[in-house]
């Protein structure tokens, strides 16, 4: 009998697609279990962007309180001492719970994101972007919020295999391609970032790892590197500029 990691159990319990049962069932929880296993009992600050699967929003329109925010509940239980922050363009504020704070912001609006980070005190230890999946949203959000990630913190972007066709900007370099070339400062990408944001990323990313999605609802060949995890350099480490 295979031992199922705790995070996967929680994801399945609360209906998150990060587990092995619901919606696309990506099993990102396997990767998160590797990354977070030593952080269980830390008093973390975790931010997740994108709080409810589109299908759930459709099925439970007007009745969100019946399902809550699956991922936020999962994180709250997995990290019993953490402060959990949720951010979405849809108003889920009524679903706030103990240790779960919910806000509203637009991933394409720097002022909105920056304002949220400042208002919450920033210094997030873990940020997870499971938002719109549009490349410009992911990149602008990364550009703004990576600066509000604590030294040594982890920034995760999910579902890099998918961009909503009606939102994707023509000519933009998809986030997965951009990130694959980030550590070598690859040229030729077309990005909506500010120079200061790109410079900060190049200087401050300590490592970048990719994980595949295990979903059986997508062509296998498209699921490589569906989850990216960037670790920010710890405090006291140089900018890396030579």
């Amino acid at each position: 009998m295979t031992t199922v990691p705790q995070l996967t159990i929680l994801a399945n319990l609360y209906g998150s697609d990060k587990g092995s049962q619901h919606h696309c069932a990506h099993r990102y929880t396997d990767a998160y279990e590797q990354l977070f296993s030593t952080l269980h009992n830390k008093p973390l600050r975790l931010l997740e962007i994108g709080l409810m699967h589109g299908r759930t929003q459709h099925d439970y329109a007007g009745k969100f309180d019946q399902v809550g925010c699956p991922s936020l509940r999962m994180w709250a239980e997995y990290f019993p001492r953490a402060q959990i922050f949720g951010l979405d363009i849809v108003d889920f504020r009524a679903l706030a719970e103990d240790r779960i704070t919910i806000g509203i912001a637009n991933q394409g609006d720097r002022a909105s994101l920056e304002g949220y980070a400042v208002a919450t005190g920033g210094q997030f230890d873990i940020i997870i972007d499971d938002g719109s999946h549009a490349s410009h949203h992911q990149q602008i959000t990364l550009g703004v919020l990576f600066q509000h990630l604590s030294p040594g913190g982890l920034y995760c972007i999910e579902d890099l295999h998918y961009q909503p066709a009606d939102m994707e900007l023509p000519g933009i370099t998809p986030t997965r391609a951009f990130l694959r070339g980030l550590t070598e400062a690859r040229r030729g990408n077309r990005l909506p970032l500010l120079q200061s944001e790109l410079g900060h990323l190049i200087d401050q990313v300590e490592f970048l790892r990719f994980f595949d999605s295990q979903s059986n609802q997508w062509p296998k060949e498209s699921l490589a590197d569906a989850l990216a995890v960037l670790r920010k350099k710890p405090a006291g480490v140089g900018s890396g500029q030579s």
Partner: protein, 483 residues
């Protein structure tokens, strides 16, 4: 369910137009980042121009004209020469000749900084705030081998005055700027959020400074030029081999050649006959340094020397051993003493490094110096340098295996080589590549190198330092791991 304060940061939908997407590129400074000057600084260019036109005061006049233009906010070559005319230094016609000479001198002195040129990709940006025009700088980049299409920004001191970064930022996202100036290439772009790479490789390094301080200025610049031309990736064995070879082995062999020529001439011998496999490169270098000097090379080994075939004996007979300075880089002298005892051929043996502290059971080491008809002389001894000569042998390896024997073919001595080479092929190839680059770079400065070398004081002491450096234990270990 307890409620917690919620945060409200709502905004209207924001559209990000595709026109706000910018392409990522790298940017590079030009001089001393992609291109270096053989003469190091621009003032030496002016000195060359002045010397070529018989104008001793040209350097001062040229600098003064440039400063006047700079103060007026003008910073291009045409304006500087117009200022020379305006100041009454020369006529319009003379100014044009001087200007063209300066441009020619820039091209003649241009050295590619290969490790950085290899990083330039299509449509990267090159930024220069020099007084040379865009047309001239593009030609200069082509001259040093950059064939890629690049954006060239000539900003007339805009880089140093910070303007250029804002201009570039309107069109591109810079993933990195590389340059040599701490202010304009490091602090300023960094203040604009641009990741920076501060390159200082064009400045003279400690080894080159050591050579220059000895009085070996031309050789020091030659070594610097070769270092900048290193085509191998940083951190690779081949890259290190190239640098080690050109920085240490080259001056060592230049000095060795001078010592050999002096020795032959002072003893009135007919020629220098280089005889070790590890004299392969020395032989080629010596011929280029002293083209009129009688120098030959027959690569032999201990094994080949013992091989008294009729062909080998005929080869030795035709080589006029008795009238030659038989020279090797490293030797105990014993194989040649054994050869002399077998063949009774008189020998004048010279070895750069005499291994005086290796005990052969078959010989009394003192026999080396008390055998009639056999003379051993040397530059330095192993007991004063290093107990091992492995580094010297490794860096002077030939592209072929150990000589197994020697015959006469078509009237010429023809060694037979082992098909096996004990060193990594990439390492040997890198040395060969470096040797070819040395011959090319040496050609225009041969006379200066020979003249400077001949007047060096305490040649054995310099030799000792170079041998100790080239035989440094970490190199032997690194190579042992690679083999």
């Amino acid at each position: 369910m307890p409620t917690r304060p919620v945060l409200e940061t709502q905004s209207a939908e924001v559209i990000v137009p595709a026109t706000l997407l910018r392409s990522t590129v790298q940017s590079f400074d030009l001089f001393d980042t992609l291109v270096a000057r053989r003469c190091v600084g621009p003032h030496e260019i002016f000195a060359e121009v002045g010397a070529a036109h018989g104008k001793r005061d040209f350097v001062a006049a040229r600098i003064a004209a440039e400063q006047r233009c700079f103060a007026a906010g003008i910073f291009d070559l045409d304006a500087i020469y117009a200022m020379l005319v305006h100041l009454g230094y020369c006529t319009v016609e003379d100014a044009e000749r001087l200007r063209q000479s300066e441009i020619n001198a820039e091209f003649d002195n241009a050295i590619p900084i290969v490790e950085n040129l290899m990083q330039v990709q299509d449509f990267d940006i090159i930024v220069s705030d020099m007084y040379l025009s865009e047309r001239i700088l593009r030609s200069l980049l082509q001259h040093v081998g950059l064939r890629r299409p690049v954006h060239l920004f000539v900003s007339n001191d805009g880089k140093a005055r910070d303007r250029v970064w804002a201009e570039l930022g309107c069109r591109w996202l810079l993933t990195r700027h590389m340059g040599d100036n701490p202010h304009s290439d490091f602090h300023l772009p960094r203040s604009h959020g641009i990741p920076v790479s501060h390159y200082t490789g064009a400045t003279i390094n400690a080894t080159e400074r050591y050579l220059a301080d000895l009085g070996w200025q031309t050789t020091a610049r030659l070594v610097r030029e070769l270092r900048l031309r290193n085509p191998y990736p940083a951190g690779s064995l081949e890259n290190s081999a190239w640098n080690h070879f050109t920085a240490l082995n080259l001056p060592l062999l230049i000095l060795a050649t001078c010592i050999l020529v002096d020795e032959r001439r002072s003893r009135g011998l007919e020629k220098i006959l280089l005889v070790g496999r590890d004299c392969h490169w020395l032989a080629e270098l010596a011929v280029h340094l002293y083209p009129g000097e009688p120098i030959g090379h027959i690569p032999v080994s201990r094994q080949a020397l013992k091989n008294d075939t009729p062909g080998a004996l005929a080869c030795w007979a035709s080589s006029h051993l008795a009238k030659s300075l038989v020279a090797d880089l490293v030797s105990t002298g014993h194989s040649w003493l054994d050869f002399h005892r077998r063949t009774t051929v008189p020998l004048n043996l010279f070895t750069l490094l005499y291994i005086d502290n290796y005990q052969y059971a078959a010989f009394d080491p003192a026999d080396i110096f008390r055998t009639d008809g056999f003379t051993l002389s040397f530059a330095i001894t192993a007991s004063t340098t290093t107990p091992q000569s492995r580094g010297l042998e490794v860096f002077n390896t030939a592209p072929h295996g150990t000589p197994l024997g020697i015959d006469v073919l078509g009237g010429h001595c023809a060694p037979r080589y082992s098909s096996h080479h004990e060193l990594p092929a990439g390492f040997v190839a890198a040395l060969g590549h470096a040797q070819a680059a040395i011959i090319t770079a040496l050609r225009p400065v041969r006379n200066q190198v020979v003249a400077e070398t001949s007047v060096l004081e305490d040649k054995p002491a310099i030799l000792r330092t170079l041998v100790q450096s080239i035989c440094a234990p970490n190199w032997v270990q690194q190579l042992s791991q690679a083999i």
